[in-house]
Amino acid sequence: MAKPTRVTNSIRTLRFAHGEMTQAELADRIGVTRQTIIAIEQGRYSPSLETAFQIARVFQVPLDDVFGYPE
């Protein structure tokens, strides 16, 4: 089944690089549900720009390090 979004992300890698942060922990920090983090990680949901910036801020990296949009 084709993924509904072409936006890719490195959230899983970044979570593990940041003390094995859990999905629930990340969700709490940016004020979304754990299911939304799961959906973003699996490429089933393109987050809003605001949510994307919030995720990048949690990991203290630029937006491009978290999300990509391949050709």
Binding site: M1, K3, P4, T5, G31, V32, T33, Q35, T36, A39, Q42, G43, R44, Y45, P47, S48, E50, T51
Partner: protein
């Protein structure tokens, strides 16, 4: 499963079962009967009441079973809800043409009321199904 997705599943289950029982009960009386004599008002009001009541009770049960997720909504839930309601509105708009036509054709109130109830049911089901698909497959 998020609390909003659970609500959508509840609406689908209740939205199928309650109208199914209602239509099976009321429409079974139609063959060989003058529909003007069939008492559909109380059964329909009961079905609507049971549908609303069952949705509330099941939502409370779902919240008790997983209290951590209860009542939590976020931007994704809102977007999915908006998409579902949008589809539900279009289904309702199209389905409402039937009772409108029946009223113009001076059909029995029985048929107009039941067609309208069916339109509400179809709109609610379409809305809930679209939300579930969005939750499951993404968007």
């Amino acid at each position: 499963m998020s609390s909003e997705e659970k609500h959508s599943w509840i609406y689908v289950v209740v939205g199928v079962l309650v109208p199914l029982v209602y239509f099976a009960t009321v429409l079974s009386k139609v063959p060989g009967t003058d529909v003007a004599t069939i008492d559909y008002v109380w059964p329909m009001l009961t079905a609507i009441g049971v549908g609303i009541g069952a949705s509330i009770v099941l939502s409370i049960v779902a919240a008790i079973i997983s209290p951590r997720e209860a009542g939590k909504t976020d931007v994704r839930d809102k977007e999915i809800n908006r998409r579902g309601e949008y589809v539900g509105f279009y289904v309702m708009s199209v389905a409402a043409i039937v009772p409108l036509g029946l009223a113009m054709a001076k059909a029995e109130h029985f048929w107009i009321a039941n067609a309208l109830y069916l339109a509400f049911v179809l709109a609610a089901l379409a809305s809930a199904v679209v939300k579930i698909v969005a939750y499951r497959r993404g968007f």
